[in-house]
Every structure is written in C-alpha cells, then in structure tokens.
C-alpha cells in the first residue's frame, strides 16, 4: 500500500511535509525493484539541494541508483542508522528506512509531486 500522507516523484522518492520540514525516502516499489540494498550514500548536513537534483545514491546487489531530491532545501539530518543497516531500506521504506530530513525552502513545491493515488496509477502503468 502507498501511504496517503506522502507525495511522490516519478523517480520513486517520497516526501513527507510537516511545516517546513521535509522527510525524504524511496518507495516500497523502488526498494522492490532495486533488490537487496547494500550501501546508501547520503549528503552531509547543511548540503543545499535543488528540487530534482541528485541527493545521494543507493547501491543494491544489482545496480547503483541515484536518488533525486523531491524538493529544494537544506539537509538537516541524514539517517545515520542506514550506514550499518542498509537493509532497513528494504524492510521499512516508509519508516525506519527514511533517508534525509531537510528544511524546505518552499513547502508548496510538494504540490508539484504526485499524490498517493496518482503514484499508484503511475507504478501500475510502468509495469
């Protein structure tokens, strides 16, 4: 199931907006496609990101994939737990497998992203 309270990109990232704080992760569909994730490369705190610019990368047994920032802002926290336990991304992509938190420069950017229903339809069409 795709959580209703998140917004989604075509590159399969999700964004949770709480005030001007955004939390970013990858979707369940993305982790399923990537397969077992073995390494996650995240930006440092303080990194300024533009919407759709590369945020980091995830490496699975199959391939390395870039992650793109769903919104513009500054990184305030990176999920340090993923360094030792990248499997959290596979096990709980919408929870413990979050990637970064950021201070959003324009929370309204979330409006340009897909809703849960739209994302569900998009993933269905992609298959």
């Amino acid at each position: 199931m795709v959580p209703e309270n998140l917004r989604y990109t075509k590159e399969h990232e999700w964004l949770l907006v709480e005030g001007d704080t955004g939390t970013v992760g990858i979707t369940d569909h993305a982790q399923e496609e990537l397969g077992d994730i073995v390494y996650v490369d995240l930006p440092r705190v303080g990194t300024a990101l533009a919407q759709a610019s590369p945020l980091g990368s995830v490496e699975s047994v199959k391939a390395v994939s870039e992650i793109f920032s769903p919104a513009s802002g500054e990184v305030t926290e990176a999920n340090a737990a993923l360094a030792d336990a990248p499997e959290k991304l596979n096990e709980d992509p919408y929870g413990a497998g979050w990637l970064v938190k950021m201070k959003l420069s324009d929370p309204a950017q979330a409006g340009s992203l897909m809703t849960a229903a739209e994302y569900q339809a998009y993933v269905g069409a992609e298959k």
Binding site: D36, V38, V61, K62, P86
Partner: protein, 492 residues
C-alpha cells in the same frame, strides 16, 4: 578422519595459508658471491623485519598443486560456451598467441630507440590502418587501455574540438539502454547527462531526439547495434539531426562484432567511436586486463588525438610529439602493445572475407537461439536482433524464479551463465550472446539446457531457486557478502 576419499577434481582446496608449515621453502638461492651487507645497517634497523607474520610457507610442488587445482575450477571459453551477453566471449585463436610470443615483439622495450623498433611501430601502424578501414573512419589512436578508457578519450576529443570552435557545450544525450560506462564517461568529461527513452521497438526515438538536441548538446552517445542487440535503423537520420545543430555522434563500439565487414560507422554518420579489441578482435579478457580500447575519428578530430602520433618519415616510422592541439597522453607509452599484436594477428589471419563471415555467423547463432527459445522465454522487444538476444524472466517469475536463479541453474548444466539483469530497460533480463565461436552442436546443447530449465521453473521452482547443486560451493549469500564483506583471511 580420512580426508582424501574423492578424486582431487571434486575436493575442496584449502587456502595456501592453511597449507603452510613453518620453515618450508620453494626456492634455493646460490651461495653469495659478493660481500654480505647487513640490511639493518644499509636500510636502517626500523626498516628491517625478521619475518613477515602469517606469510604462507610451502614447498614448490605444494604451491604448484595448489594453483593448478584452483585453475581446474575455472570456467573458460576453452572449456565450453560462454554466452555472457554484451561481453563477446569469443574464442581467442592460438595464432594470436604464437604471433604475440615472437621474440622480437614479446621482448620489445618501450624505451628502445625508434631505429630499433621499426617492426613494432609497423605493427601499430598497420593495426591503425586496418581499424580505420573496418570502421570507415579517418584516424585511430591505439593508446586507450579499455573500452571505458576509449569512451573517455573520445568524449574529451569532442570537447576539445567544440572548445576550439568556441563552446564545449554542456550536455550529452544517452539512450536509456546504454552501458553504464556511457553516463560515467560523460560526467567525468564534465558534461551533464540527459537520458532518452527508447521507443517501443527498443531503438532510438528520433522524434524525442529532435526535441532534445539544442545548441547546448555536445554529442549523442549511442551503441549500435544497441544493448538489446537491435540495429539503430534511424542512425543516419539521428546523425543528420545532431550535425544540423553542430552536435556530434559518438558510437560505443562494444557491439562492433555485429557490423565488421557489413556496415561501417564512418558511413552512417559517426564522428568518434571506440572499439573493444578484447571483444570484437579476440584478444583475452583475462582477469580484468590488459585490454585495448582504440578510438577512431573523422578527420576534423585528428589534430586532437593523444600524442605521440605515428608518422611516416621517408622509409621510417617515427613518433610525432609536437601536436599542439592534442588532448595529451591518455596512457603511458603506446597502449597495451601485446594486445594490439594479437588483434592485428586476428585481422590478418581472417582477412576481409573471414571477418565478414565471423560477423554473419555471430548474428546467425544469436538469431537461431532466439527462434529456439522464443516459445519458452518472454521476448520483450520483438525487433530483429543481431549478435545477441535479450529475453526476460516474466514467465518464470510467475513461479518465483528470477533471471539470477535461471543463470545459477545453467551452471549445473555445464555452461557459464548468460548476462543477468542487463540491459536495465528489460525487467529481469537474460542477455545471451553466443558469438561466432560456437557450432550447431554446442548451441543445441545450450538450447536444450535452457528449455529444460524453463520446464523445471514450472514443475519444481525450488530446484531452480536453490541452484547450483553440482558445484563445490552451493549458492553464496551475495547480499551478506556485500553488506558485511570479509576482506582478509584470519587464522582460526
């Protein structure tokens, strides 16, 4: 416990460290015939140690047996078919080795004066000329040491030419079916990468290309035939679109073995391309190198080629270092010379007609496999394929069996696996490339194995999912190996 109850070929082999006994030696040195020097005095006591802790100590025959036994575990093209798609694992004819071992070539030294290296220089000049003729290009550099190195050299050449014309531009376009090295090359050369989605038939979408080519685009990097094994039939049109905007067409020559003797990239609009001698021209892939990735260019790029350039001066070959527009050296000396000798041997042994035959046979073999396996495996892009064929695991995945499982099971049938999960635009790809090396008998055995595995995937999926069963080591835990790698041996 009795350890030796099986033929050695099926026994496991301990590490050399585990075979070690203190004091054993595999060498004997002659008596010292010069005055002895105390290393501590000569080098300083802090730089000298009495022993290397944990270094294995074995006798000569133990060392020989250890490595010989391990060598019998290898799978090689000399054992059987090696259908690893995209890698072009063709047989390396022994004549290549004979020629490369010719004393005057094998012992040539890069610091030899030009007057004493005329033969080696002639070899390189002839190879450059042969590759230029085969590709329909105007000039060739033999320096790059591998395909990706050739790509980088090629894109730097494009950057240099555009720079000279006033603007290196900002972007490189790359189809989504490309080898991963293409975007990496563009990025290292300082370009932003823009992806082009393939059309439904698995080829370049010319309408999309037309939209994307602007004054900011330096080049399109395209593999032809592409990674699906499909010929880019709109390549001439694509070249026209690019050239109209002052952009270049770069061709990744990874699949040139499907074109040699049939079509020349220089004739269909390519400006710069690389070749993989270890693929198309049968030099060894061994252990990650050495390889060779020569770059072929059209005349406008010639001044920018890496220095030095071979030059004819009267009756002699000489090296021209004074090349003011050159992008500079990309490799020490003159490339991997031994590999270049082998490639020339292959080209000359085959001759034009022979090279063309090799291409035709490689395509015939792949098409034969496609026709035989089409009833059993899903074919996501039905466009006519050339030297390789890409299936997907869609039918088997319904039983929980994925491409990686099918590949592991193929090991039990005595074949090296095909290429798994590439190209990325095919979900669960099985990429099969037989090359011209295989005859009908071997290919039929492979086809029978694949059909049998397709049946097993339906009737007994678990058998396939837990394969291989007939090897010394059963399926290894790739995920744990990547997440928690054990990088060195430690005594128990």
């Amino acid at each position: 416990m009795i350890e030796k109850v099986r033929h050695h070929l099926s026994q496991n082999e301990p590490l050399l460290f585990e075979r070690s006994s203190p004091g054993k030696r595999a060498y004997q040195l002659p008596e010292l015939d010069v005055p002895a020097v105390d290393p501590a005095e000569a080098l300083g006591a802090e730089n000298v140690r009495a022993e290397i802790a944990g270094f294995p100590e074995v006798s000569e025959v133990e060392a020989i047996r250890h490595f010989t036994r391990l060598s019998t575990w290898n799978y090689a093209i000399d054992h059987g078919m090696y259908p690893l798609g995209s890698c072009t694992m063709k047989y390396n004819p022994r004549i290549n080795e004979l020629v490369a071992r010719t004393e005057a070539l094998a012992w040539a030294h890069p610091y030899q004066p030009e007057a004493l290296a005329q033969g080696s220089m002639e070899v390189m000049a002839r190879l450059e000329a042969a590759l230029a003729e085969i590709t329909g290009m105007d000039a060739v550099t033999l320096q790059p040491a591998a395909g990706a190195h050739g790509e980088l050299t090629g894109i730097l050449l494009i950057r240099a030419l555009l720079q000279k014309r006033g603007n290196p531009r900002r972007k490189i376009l790359i189809p989504d079916s490309a080898h991963g090295t293409n975007p990496a090359t563009a990025a290292i050369a300082g370009y932003a990468v823009e992806n082009i989605k393939s059309s439904e038939s698995g080829v370049l979408d010319v309408a999309a290309l037309e939209q994307l080519v602007t004054d900011d685009v330096a080049a399109l990097m395209v593999t032809n035939p592409n990674t699906l094994g499909v010929f880019e039939e709109n390549i001439i049109h694509a070249a026209e679109i690019l050239h109209a905007k002052g952009a270049m067409l770069y061709m990744d020559g990874a699949n040139m073995n499907a074109l040699v003797g049939i079509a020349r990239p220089g004739d269909f609009g390519v400006d710069v391309m690389h070749l993989n001698l270890h693929k198309t021209f049968s030099t060894p892939h061994g252990g990650g190198g050495p390889g060779a990735g020569p770059v072929a260019v059209k005349a406008p790029f010639e001044p920018f080629l890496p220095a030095p350039r071979l030059k004819r001066s009267g009756k002699r070959w000489t090296y021209d270092y004074k090349r003011k527009h050159s992008i500079g050296r990309v490799k020490a000396f003159y490339g991997n010379f031994g590999v270049l000798v082998r490639a020339l041997a292959y080209i000359l042994a085959h001759g034009g007609a022979g090279l063309r035959n090799a291409t035709v046979d490689a395509v015939l073999n792949a098409v034969y496999i496609r026709k035989k396996l089409e009833p059993y495996y899903d074919l996501p892009y039905p466009s006519p394929n050339m030297h390789e064929v890409v299936f997907s695991d869609e039918r088997q995945a319904r039983h929980g069996v994925r491409t990686g499982d099918l590949a592991k099971r193929l090991i039990d049938y005595g074949f090296h696996p095909y290429t798994v999960s590439f190209p990325l635009i095919v979900h669960g790809a099985l990429m099969i490339e037989p090359t011209e090396t295989e005859g009908k008998m071997e290919i039929d055995q492979f086809v029978d194995a694949m059909i049998s595995i397709a049946r097993e995937a339906e009737a007994d999926p678990q058998l396939v999912k837990s394969a291989p069963h007939g090897t010394r080591t059963s399926r290894v835990d790739e995920v744990a190996a990547a997440r928690k790698p054990v990088l060195r041996w430690k005594p128990a």
